[in-house]
């Protein structure tokens, strides 16, 4: 049975269209013209307990809007969301208080910690808000302190923390009350390599030992490769792909790229036919071929050896990053 069920979820932002030109600001106050933006457009998906799902899409695709709908902060224009639990399903925006105990939220770009106060005081506040019993708070905090190495800055005011430290604080705050679901919105943005690894390791550990179900948005595909078995790719508010990471690569890049540099005299033109494979000239003079995953590369090599000497050869496996780059590029061209 799925833990989170999203059906036909739609969010349209309506705002007054600003009037350009003379007295534009004043005229905007009286205009009736509205601008409508469809941020999330009839999205469907379900997430099972214990999954870590990567929620991907270019900037402006509707990721953050979806997260805000899932946390009950935004009202949708249409559709529904249900989060299952022991005392029945909860629709986020209808029953935020019951939802609150079921979800933890971390945003890379903003913090739930109180800026002016030592880190520990924000933890105390969160524990009180979610009415965590004292002994459970103590044991949870002890575990989080160790996992996230919070000890050195537990009594430091949050405004003096580095971004990596603050992020660790935010992760701890989100899990202090043992929510079964964790929403992570760009949790590694701006972090250095080590800090990123700490965050990833922690999410992985919480998912393994705590059975925390995670929905993660990120632009760092290393996060996805390290953590997610499944991804949801959205763009223009619609789901483009929902399935395993490998599946995305297989579907959008059912080929590998072979880069070839030839010795001696270079053929004219921008295209080169080698044994039926068509190569395109790169900026650096190499030729780029696409070879299907089930086609043997040696056919290309055999054709190349036929009168032409190969000086250099590289096979580039398509990975998540190259696929996503390709998809985003296509989007920009349409």
């Amino acid at each position: 049975m799925s833990l989170i069920t999203v059906r036909e979820l739609t969010k349209e932002y309506v705002r007054t269209k600003p009037v350009q030109g003379r007295f534009g600001t004043v005229r905007t106050l009286f205009t009736r013209e509205k601008e409508r933006t469809l941020a999330v457009d009839r999205i469907d998906f379900t997430i099972d307990e214990g999954e870590i799902v990567g929620y991907l899409g270019p900037n402006g695709a509707g990721k953050s809007t979806t997260i805000k709908l899932l946390t009950g902060v935004l009202w949708p224009t249409g559709g529904t969301v249900e989060v299952a639990g022991p005392d029945g399903p909860v629709v986020p925006w209808r029953d935020r208080r019951r939802l609150a105990h079921r979800i933890g939220v971390v945003f890379g770009q903003r913090s739930q910690l109180w800026w002016d106060l030592p880190l520990i005081e924000s933890f105390d506040l969160v524990a009180a808000l979610y009415d965590v019993p004292a002994d459970r708070y103590r044991s949870n905090l002890a575990r989080l302190r160790k996992l996230l190495d919070l000890e050195p800055f537990l009594r430091t005011p949050v405004r003096q923390l580095s971004l990596g430290q603050r992020m660790r604080g935010d992760l701890a705050a989100a899990l202090l009350y043992d929510p079964p679901v964790l929403y992570l919105d760009e949790p590694t943005v701006g972090l250095d390599v080590l800090a990123k690894e700490t965050v990833r390791g922690f999410v992985d550990e919480s998912n393994r030992s705590g059975r925390t179900t995670v929905l993660l948005t990120t632009h760092d595909l290393a996060d996805v490769e390290r953590l997610c078995r499944r991804i949801l790719l959205i763009d223009h508010g619609r789901v483009l792909y929902d399935g395993p990471v490998d599946g995305l690569v297989a579907r959008y890049a059912p080929y590998q790229e072979v880069l070839v540099r030839l010795d001696g005299e270079q053929p004219d033109g921008g295209r080169l036919d080698l044994g039926g494979f068509i190569g395109e000239r790169e900026h650096d003079g190499r030729w780029r071929f696409r070879v299907g995953r089930d086609e043997p590369v040696h056919r290309l090599l055999a054709a190349a050896g036929d009168g032409r000497q190969i000086r250099e050869l590289a096979v580039v496996e398509s990975n998540l990053e190259s696929v996503v780059r390709e998809l985003y590029r296509e989007r920009r061209n349409t």
């Binding site: 946390t71 902060v73 935020r96 609150a100 770009q109 739930q112 009415d131």
Partner: protein
């Protein structure tokens, strides 16, 4: 019980935040004390040796002004600033996703911030008495009714402040309206001039509005200008205002929530 624990934690948090800004507290004390010194001197001069003006003795007027200036510290509105900055930064997202209601959270924050303000004013009261003038309450009844009036006044002001703060959901920046509120509320509450000195129409206006219960009513009860029966009538009216304003806050919050747009990201 669980809900109470959450709100108490918010009060504690607000106290802790307030204590981080000790220079602000010090400044508010200095401003209040200097104000008391000035305003009582000006009024003493205005009486020009007369004993009674508009039914109020000079001595009572000075006590009124001293008390009113200390009480006016309640018309501080830190929570409006917290609300607007959290709307602007998008941190309101966390407030909204808490298991406690948003208006209650903000009320608890306002309470915590007020507690420090009140504690400080109580502490400097002896100094205020020296600079302005203080005497005991007009009688036992006045002494007993005074704290009740103060509490009602605080609740009224907190609800009004919350309404002002909620405007941030429409305008993002609520500094302008906050400044306006503090100015209008302080004046109509009788913080600078006792209401009985107000000319006809202005006095009618001030009496029709709830602000007077924040400063004028408690101070007037203390000096005996408002007697027991009148005070009880005032309490009933304050309570009615509190019920109305709580309803308005609730409705406004529901509208604000429905039109929430979390800024950034």
């Amino acid at each position: 019980m669980s809900v109470l624990r959450g709100y108490t934690a918010y009060v504690r948090t607000a106290v802790a935040i307030r204590l981080q800004y000790r220079s602000t507290i010090l400044a508010s004390v200095v401003v209040t004390l200097v104000w008391i010194l000035l305003v009582t001197r000006v009024w003493s001069a205005a009486f020009q040796g007369r004993e009674v003006v508009a039914g109020l003795t000079l001595e009572s007027t000075v006590v009124y002004l001293t008390l009113a200036s200390l009480q006016a510290a309640v018309i501080n509105t830190p929570v409006t600033w917290i609300m607007s900055s959290r709307v602007r930064s998008g941190e309101v997202l966390f407030d909204v996703s808490r298991p406690l209601g948003y208006p209650g959270q903000m009320l608890a924050l306002q309470a915590g911030q007020s507690m420090i303000q009140v504690a400080v004013m109580v502490l400097v009261t002896p100094v205020a008495g020296l600079l302005g003038g203080l005497s005991g309450p007009a009688g036992l009844t006045a002494g007993l009714l005074y704290p009740v009036a103060l509490v009602l006044g605080w609740v009224l002001n907190a609800l009004l402040t919350l309404l002002i703060g909620l405007s941030a959901f429409w305008t993002v920046d609520n500094v302008g309206i906050t400044v306006l509120y503090r100015f209008v509320a302080a004046f109509l509450a009788g913080a600078t001039v006792p209401l009985i000195f107000f000319p006809g129409p202005l006095r009618t206006l001030a009496e029709a509005l709830p602000f007077r219960f924040v400063v004028y009513q408690p101070a007037a009860i203390y000096i005996g200008q408002v007697d027991g029966a009148e005070a009880l009538g005032g309490f009933a009216l304050s309570l009615a205002w509190i019920v109305i304003l709580a309803g308005v806050v609730g409705l406004t919050w529901r509208r604000a929530y429905r039109r929430i747009v979390v800024h950034g990201g």
